[in-house]
Amino acid sequence: MNKTVNQKAWFFVLPVLLLVAFNAFIPLMTVVNYSVQETFGDNTFFWAGVIWFQDVLHSERFHAALGRQLTFTFTILAIEIPLGVAIALCMPRRGIWVPVCLVTMALPLLIPWNVVGAIWNIFALPDIGLLGRTLNGLGFDYNFTRQPGDAWFTLIAMDVWHWTSLVVLLAYAGLVSIPDAFYQAARIDGASSWAIFRYIQLPKMKRVLTIAVLLRFMDSFNIYTEPSVLTGGGPGNSTTLLSIDLVKVALGQFDLGPAAAMSLIYFLIILAMSWLFYTLMMRNEDQ
C-alpha cells in the first residue's frame, strides 16, 4: 500500500479549533487569570493565589445567592417538567389543530428575554398592570416590588410561562415518534391509560425528557435577563440569583478577582450538576 503522507487534514480541523478557542477556551482562561490575581487599577496585577476562592466559598452572601438559585431552579423544574408533559399529552397527534397548537406553544420562546421581563413587569404592577390590579381587586395584598413572596411568585410564574413550551415541544416530539402499534398492543393487553403512560409513553420519552431537564436546568441556573428586568434582584436581596449577584460584584463593585473566582465556582457547579443529572437519568440505558 502506498500511503501519501501529508499534513493537509489539519486544515480541516483548524476552523473548529479556532472557533472553540475564541468561543470557550480563551475567555475561560481570562477568567482563570483574573481569579488568581489582585488588582488596584492602573492595569497592574499581583499574584493572589487561591484567596478569592476561599473568600467566595466562605462568603455568607454567596451561600445565600446559591440557596436562592437552587430554590428557583428546582421549583421551576418541579413545575415545568410535569406541566410540559401533561400539556404534550393533551395535544392532538394529527389533524388541522396540530400546527395551531405547535405555533401557539412556540410563541413565548420567540420573545426576546428582556421583553419577557418587561412584559411581566408591567403586567404585574399593582396599580396599572392587569395581573397586579386583578389580584388586588380580588382582595389579595399583592405587590411584587415590596413583598419578597410576591416577587418570587411573579418570577416563577414568568419562567413557567416563558419556558414550559420548550418542555412541551420536546415531550411532544417524543410522543409522536411512538408507533401506533404500541398503543394497539397495549389496548389488546387491556392496559389502563396510566399503564400506557407509565410503561410506553414515559420510557419512550425518556431521552427527550433528559434533554429537557438538562436544558431547563442549565438555562434556569444561568438566568439573568428576565429577573434583572422584572425585579432587579429585589426587594432587598430576596430575588438576587447567582448571576445577578455576580454582575453586582463584577460590574457594580468592580472586584475582578472575587468575581472571576465566583464565575469559576458557578461554572463548576453547573458542570457537576449537569453531569449528575445526565448520569442519573441515563443509568440502565444502553448505547
Binding site: P179, A181, R187, I188, D189, G190, Y199, Q287
Partner: protein
C-alpha cells in the same frame, strides 16, 4: 370456533379502505391474508381484532356478534411487523404482562411464562430488557407475549417481514408447531406468495381493499378466480397478453400459435387474456406442450438457484424464471419456452375461464 365478517366495510372520510367483505375464518388452519403493502391487510386485521370499528357490517365470533365489543374484552392477541415490547420491562415481565392484567396467580404466571420462554428459546434472556436482544429475539418475545394468554383469535401481521433471511426461515418453521395444539383462529398477513404456499391453510388474496378470492391455499394458487387474484399470488408478477381463439388454435398477439387441444378445446371462439406465471416460461422446454417464443433480454439476474430474465416481448415486458444458473447476455435475443398447459385464460372482464 370461527370468525365471521359479514359485509364489513371501512371508510375513512371519502376514502374506502375496505370494500364490503364477507369472510369466514375457521380454527385449526392458518388463514392467510395475501396482498401487497397498502392492500388492506392491516386494516382488515384491526377490524377483526376490534381495534377499529367497521363503518358498516358485523363481526361475529363463535356465533356471537362482537362488532361493538372493546378489544380488551375479546381475548385477542396480535403480533405486529415492528417488534412491540414494553421498553423498560424485562423479557419475563413483558411475557407476563397480559397474564398480570388478567389477574392470574403468581405461581400460574411463573409456570406459564417459563413454559412459553422455553418454547420460544428465550429462557436465558428472561432477565434482559428488549433493547438488549437481537431483532429475532425481540420478535420472539413479542410473539411469546401474544401466545402466552390463550387467545381465541391470534393475528400475526407480517411478523417476519423485518427479520433477516435466516431468522425468517427459522421462525417460519416454528410457527405452525406453536399453533399445533391450540384451539384458536389464526390469521397471518403476508406480502409473500411463497409464505402463503408454505403455511398452506386458507388464503384470501387482497387487492386495494377487496378480497379477490378466498379458499384453500393450493386451490387459490392453481385456480385463481380472477386475473387480480392470480397477480396477487404471483411473484415475480404473472405475464399477461391478449390472445385469440379461432377453431382449434390459440393465437397470441404476436402471432405465436398453439393447438387448443393443449388447453381449452371447449372454449368459444373470441378474444381472451392469457396469463402465465414466470416459472412456466423457461429457457429449456418443460411440460407437455412447450411453445417457443423469443424476446430481447433486458435484465438477467440470479435469485438463489434460479435465473430470472426480464425480456421484451413485443410491446410488453415479460419475466421468465428458470431452474439453475444460466448466463444470458443482456441485449441479445433469447429463445424461451412457455408451458402453455400451465397457462391461465381470462375473459376480458378478468374472470378466469375454467376448463
Amino acid at each position: 370456533m370461527s370468525l365471521e365478517l359479514k359485509g364489513v366495510t371501512k371508510r375513512v372520510g371519502a376514502e374506502t379502505h375496505i370494500h364490503p367483505t364477507d369472510l369466514t375464518l375457521e380454527h385449526g388452519v392458518f388463514n392467510i391474508l395475501l396482498g401487497t403493502t397498502g392492500s388492506g391487510k392491516t386494516t382488515l386485521m384491526q377490524l377483526m381484532a376490534g381495534l377499529e370499528r367497521p363503518t358498516e357490517g358485523e363481526v361475529w365470533f363463535d356465533g356471537a356478534d362482537v362488532t361493538g365489543m372493546a378489544v380488551q374484552k375479546r381475548n385477542v392477541s396480535m403480533v405486529h411487523q415492528q417488534f412491540i415490547n414494553y421498553p423498560n420491562m424485562s423479557v419475563y415481565e413483558n411475557i407476563a404482562s397480559p397474564l398480570r392484567v388478567a389477574r392470574l396467580s403468581k405461581g400460574e404466571i411463573t409456570a406459564r411464562v417459563e413454559r412459553m420462554a422455553d418454547l420460544m428459546k428465550l429462557t436465558p434472556m428472561l432477565g434482559r430488557r428488549p433493547v438488549e436482544l437481537s431483532g429475532g429475539q425481540q420478535q420472539r418475545c413479542a410473539m411469546a407475549r401474544a401466545l402466552v394468554k390463550d387467545a381465541s383469535l391470534v393475528l400475526l401481521d407480517e411478523p417476519l417481514a423485518n427479520l433477516d433471511f435466516k431468522l425468517r426461515e427459522e421462525l417460519r418453521d416454528e410457527l405452525p408447531r406453536l399453533f399445533a395444539d391450540r384451539r384458536c383462529v389464526v390469521v397471518y398477513a403476508t406480502t409473500e406468495p411463497v409464505e402463503a404456499l408454505l403455511f398452506a391453510g386458507n388464503t384470501a388474496t387482497l387487492h386495494e381493499g377487496h378480497v379477490a378470492q378466498f379458499g384453500p391455499t393450493g386451490e387459490v394458487y392453481r385456480r385463481p378466480r380472477t386475473i387480480t387474484s392470480a397477480q396477487v399470488f404471483s411473484e415475480p408478477p404473472m405475464n399477461t397478453a391478449p390472445i385469440v381463439k379461432e377453431g382449434d388454435t390459440f393465437r397470441l398477439y404476436d402471432g405465436t400459435e398453439w393447438p387448443a387441444s393443449a388447453a381449452g378445446a371447449t372454449l368459444a371462439d373470441g378474444e381472451y387474456v392469457f396469463g402465465i406465471r414466470p416459472h412456466h416460461v423457461t429457457l429449456t422446454p418443460t411440460g407437455a406442450h412447450p411453445v417457443a417464443i423469443e424476446g430481447m433480454v433486458l435484465v438477467s439476474e440470479l435469485s438463489g438457484s434460479e435465473t430470472v430474465i426480464h425480456f421484451r416481448h413485443r410491446a410488453e415486458t415479460w419475466v421468465s424464471q428458470s431452474h439453475g444458473i444460466h448466463a444470458v447476455p443482456v441485449g441479445e435475443v433469447a429463445g424461451l419456452h412457455m408451458d402453455v398447459a400451465q397457462g391461465l385464460y381470462f375473459d376480458r372482464s378478468g374472470e378466469r375461464i375454467g376448463f
